[in-house]
Amino acid sequence: MMQKSLPDLVSDAVAIRRKFLKMHYEAKAGHLGTGLSDIDILAYIYGKWMRPADRFILSKGHGASSLYATLHHFGLLPDEDFATYYKDGTLLPAHPAAKALASIPAATGSLGHGMPIAAGMSYAHKHIHRSDARVACLVSDGECDEGTIWEAALFAAHHRLDNLTVIIDANGLQGFGRTEEVMNLEPLPQKWEAFGFRVSEIDGHDFAQIETAFQAQGDERPHCIVARTVKGKGVSFMENRLEWHYLPLSEAQYQQALDNIGGAEKSKDGGGR
């Protein structure tokens, strides 16, 4: 378990964003917006929350590259694997693959799969192994269209899986439109509460709020953190723009994005100019 201070985590998130942009620029890969919206949450989970027995499931599998960048930043993904992202022969495709990396327990990418898996892990740890292992699961807001999210929510609440934390990356944009236009989810916190969760609603880019939510004393209910985020966070021309779910970066855009993110060249993997 790393015990990063909040200022350290802010710096970590900058470094992860730079690493993430470099990956995408070099690979000419899309899914930039979604990664930038969840990197602060991932930085907290891997920089502070996670203990050795704990597990993280990326139910929003399209956030894989932000997870790869985070794992690599914290030394949990070897350089030689990381360098192959998106290339032929890689173990790091655009959505996490099965049995590919020790640090990623489950393949995801078809939405609505990770949360049932996380619920099953939580049930097993709490009720069968009787261990104190915890499970965190990151779900996108658009993913809440999937019925299995709510099947798993019923299950987790019924079995009092207080070792499960579900984080909703609520950036308000999904595949082909704004969430409120495609399939309105609001009021999202009240929905999760009605399904039997303890709910925290936070700014998903504010580390103090992220920490308060993760550290809040619970009860027997599973915990849902509705993290209000900005798709494309940190890069002015990407923020809240649907097209950055799909587009790759040109060189000029990459340089502008690095300027927006700020931070220094911290490592060989940071974005370079």
């Binding site: 799969h113 049932p116 898996i117 099953g120 892990m121 097993a124 099947e151 299950f155």
Partner: protein, 308 residues
């Protein structure tokens, strides 16, 4: 087969503390004993099969070996992507039990029939299929599933033409059953191969319609992928008769008959008797449906006569 399945799986669960049992809210008058003795290792996941398969995968990722039980169509088609992504791609030891293979559920209607379960699952990576021929075949299949480190499926069925005709031999690995005593070397004749409880159609013909035991060899398959290198009696029979009639209570497309035909076994004639719905389909007992699609002992007798 449900009684035999519960008995066998109860034994597995008693011996292996890492095994657990998950039901999709089914098992009235069958699972009460398991429910009361397993504690939290027994889990009723409710009427939510997709979540149930994901939960099973999650539990397996922590080192558990879940048996997951539902009615065959609900345990397969409803959640096939969860089986594919969450279980099969990770090669997890999740054992799926589908009750009511083929037309077993009869008058319950087409939503409850399972005529393509094997087709759907056989294409999935790492998946092994078990389809016992008779009640006394179930325990061996459960024991094999319990040995596997990867996923498996068992199709539990009741044949409308079921007999209690005993197998004369059962291969310890493939579980393939031989139901004839015709000594080698043989000349001519026909090899009848049934997949799972489909073989009961042939056994009914043997027991009640005087199917020619001098010239007809009857085998029951129970496991996929096939391993015909081990099923030497079956290979020898087909090599001598060169004629195969394959019987399965399953659609032709994607069924075990197609797989058999593509397995490299050499023959001169191959005919599949299989399940189907007909235009203007009406509904009834399992036997009604078997009659409707000509999947009967009488039809087999005719096929044997016509094929000779």
């Amino acid at each position: 087969m449900r009684v035999e399945f519960v008995r066998a799986v109860t034994s597995v669960l008693a011996e292996d503390q890492s095994a657990m049992f998950i039901t999709g809210d089914l098992g009235y008058n069958a699972l009460e004993q398991l429910s009361s003795t397993l504690g939290r290792r027994f889990l009723n996941a409710g009427v939510a099969e997709q979540n149930m398969m994901g939960v099973a995968a999650g539990a397996a990722l922590t080192g558990l070996k879940p048996w997951v039980y539902s009615i065959a169509p609900f345990a397969t088609y409803r959640c096939v992507e969860q089986i594919r992504n969450d279980i099969c791609l990770h090669a997890l030891p999740v054992r799926i039990a589908g009750n009511g293979g083929g037309f077993t559920y009869g008058i319950m209607g087409s939503t409850h029939h399972a005529l393509e379960d094997l087709a759907v699952l056989k294409s999935l990576p790492n998946m092994q299929l078990f389809f016992p021929c008779a009640n006394d075949h179930v325990a061996a299949a459960v024991a094999k599933m319990a040995e596997l480190s990867g996923p498996s499926y068992i199709r539990l069925s009741i044949s409308a033409f079921g007999t209690d005709r005993a197998a004369l031999h059962e291969h310890p690995e493939t579980l393939t059953r031989r139901y004839f005593a015709r000594p080698a070397p043989r000349k001519g004749g026909i090899t009848v191969v049934g997949a799972g409880h489909g073989v009961q159609v042939a056994l009914h013909a043997l027991s009640h319609l005087g199917l020619d035991q001098e010239n007809v060899d009857v085998f029951g398959l129970a496991r996929y992928p096939f391993d015909f290198a081990k099923d030497t009696e079956l290979l020898a029979s087909v090599a001598e008769t060169r004629k195969v009639i394959f019987i399965e209570e399953h659609y032709r497309s994607g069924g075990m008959g197609e797989s058999f035909a593509a397995s490299g076994v050499s023959f001169d004639s191959f005919r599949i008797m299989c399940a189907a719905y007909t235009p203007g389909q009406r509904y009834g007992s399992a036997r009604f449906h078997m009659n409707q699609c000509n999947l009967t002992p009488e039809a087999l007798m005719a096929a044997v006569r016509g094929d000779r």
